[in-house]
Amino acid sequence: MSEKKLILDCVSKTFVEKKGGKSTIALRDFTLEIDEGEFVCLVGPSGCGKTTLLKLVAGLEQVSSGAIYIDGNLITGPGSERGLVFQDFALFPWRDVRDNVAFGPEVLKVPLAERMRIAEHCIDLVGLAGSIHKYPSELSGGMKQRVAIARALANNPQLLLMDEPFGSLDAQTRHLMQKELLSIWNIDRKAVIFVTHSVEEAVYLGERVVVMSSSPGSVKNIYPIDLGYPRRLTDAAFIALRERITADIAEEVG
């Protein structure tokens, strides 16, 4: 158990509607283990519970049954060792770039000078050093997502949870961000769970790609991606894997 970063053990999640008491099973018996420093991508049809799964790991929702362990400790609520990045950035509009990134250290009571140093370091990592005093309303989508990533990194999390972080970006920006994410990941190899709609993105980024089945969500297949980095979208092996996984998901939808 000790070398596993994260263990999801038969995790199920049922939502009960407040009115009428109708219940929906979002996840059933989801089991997965993630290694220290591993990059895992989750793909699956819409509504297969990918986001629910991330929220459970983040501690924003409670499991209905099963258990989630990080470093062997049961997850019961949010914790700063797990950083979450949303698709729609969720930046604090009243804080400039630096103060957004410094939010985590600030609430963890890191002294001012130290948290400014951390924030500036993380902003450097995502390549936004020139925009440190800008406000979110002045930033493009790609820049906002860099800030969101820097903010998650500022708490030095051991596990980065990313919920379709590049889903709302245009194709060029998206590819650029994928490359930068890989280079950031290469620096200190934090474990990453990356949820995406795009099979291509999953195969480009992940060491493993987990395909989920839908309603209720569970693990359908796991594909190890033994391609090494950097990957080329046009390699025959890359395309073959992408097509296999796409077909696997299509089977689930059809």
């Binding site: 924003l60 914790g79 700063s80 729609d88 969720a90 609430v107 963890l108 309303s137």
Partner: protein, 269 residues
């Protein structure tokens, strides 16, 4: 710059359009003409007569204790002081209660029914009770301003707090923020635009309540002054007082708008 005077409400950014000045000029001309035609200066003064009356009120000795300020400015200062105290009380109580009601479900259940019960009563309907409780002058006026300003400030604060984006709360939680940090570092800043709007509406209503309170429950202030010249049939001085009431209200509105733009600079860029 002259244009900043016009920036709020419907004049925003349009100050340089000549028709807008012609509009005011035309209004004054029509007024002057109509008043001359009617030829009853003690009831329907011309703009010129109003300006003369403004001058006379400006020079005339002020109310007791404020003789040095002149009648016009003395009464303006009295009214302003009342509105500042009443508004400050309303801002403090309205924002405080609004945060509590907007943030905690139980507080809302406990307080909202009472508020919904009292809110539909127009502040002016409280004038008789205010006079019974507080007599004449400063206290009943402050009470009525507080009453008038309180509800818009409260309701807008509640609206702002409960409208805090869920995503921002979630992200703050994952970054390690505790419940109080989420309240003060996420909920409150997120509600600021709504709170500022409430303050702006509140001071407007407070000003109207003040003038109404002074018409009946006071022996000083701008409201009292225009009522006094009603009783002496000097309409030009009544209109001069009305003009002053309008100018002060407008300036307060602009002041708050400026403050709002300064605090909420992050909203627009």
């Amino acid at each position: 710059m002259r244009t900043w005077l016009w920036t709020p409400n419907t004049f925003r950014g349009e100050a340089t359009r000549p028709l807008r000045f012609i509009s005011i000029l035309l209004f004054l001309l029509v007024w002057e003409g109509a008043a001359l035609l009617a030829n009853i200066p003690q009831l329907f003064p011309t703009p010129v007569a109003v300006i003369i009356a403004l001058g006379q009120l400006f020079i005339a000795p002020g109310p007791p204790g404020l003789q040095w300020a002149g009648e016009l400015m003395g009464n303006t200062l009295i009214s302003l002081w009342r509105v500042i105290v009443g508004f400050a009380l309303a801002a403090a109580t309205g924002v405080f209660l609004g945060i509590i009601i907007g943030w905690w479900r139980n507080a809302r259940d406990l307080l909202e029914p009472v508020i919904e019960l009292l809110r539909p009563i127009p502040p002016l309907a409280w004038i008789p009770l205010a006079m019974l409780w507080f007599g004449l002058g400063f206290k009943p006026a402050v009470f009525l301003i507080w009453l008038g300003s309180f509800f818009p400030i409260l309701l807008n604060t509640v609206l702002g707090m409960e409208g805090t984006p869920h995503k921002l709360i979630e992200v703050a939680k994952t970054l390690g923020a505790g419940p109080w940090q989420i309240l003060f570092k996420v909920g409150l800043p997120s509600a600021t635009p709504s709170i500022m709007a409430g303050l702006r509406i509140g001071i407007g209503i407070g000003w109207m309540c003040l003038v109404a309170a002074e018409l009946t429950g006071s022996n000083s202030g701008l409201g009292y002054m225009i009522m006094y010249y009603y009783s002496t049939m000097e309409a030009s001085k009544t209109v001069a007082g009305m003009l002053m009431i309008g100018i002060v209200g407008f300036l307060m509105f602009i002041g708050l708008k400026k403050l709002e733009d300064r605090i909420l600079f992050w909203k627009t860029s």
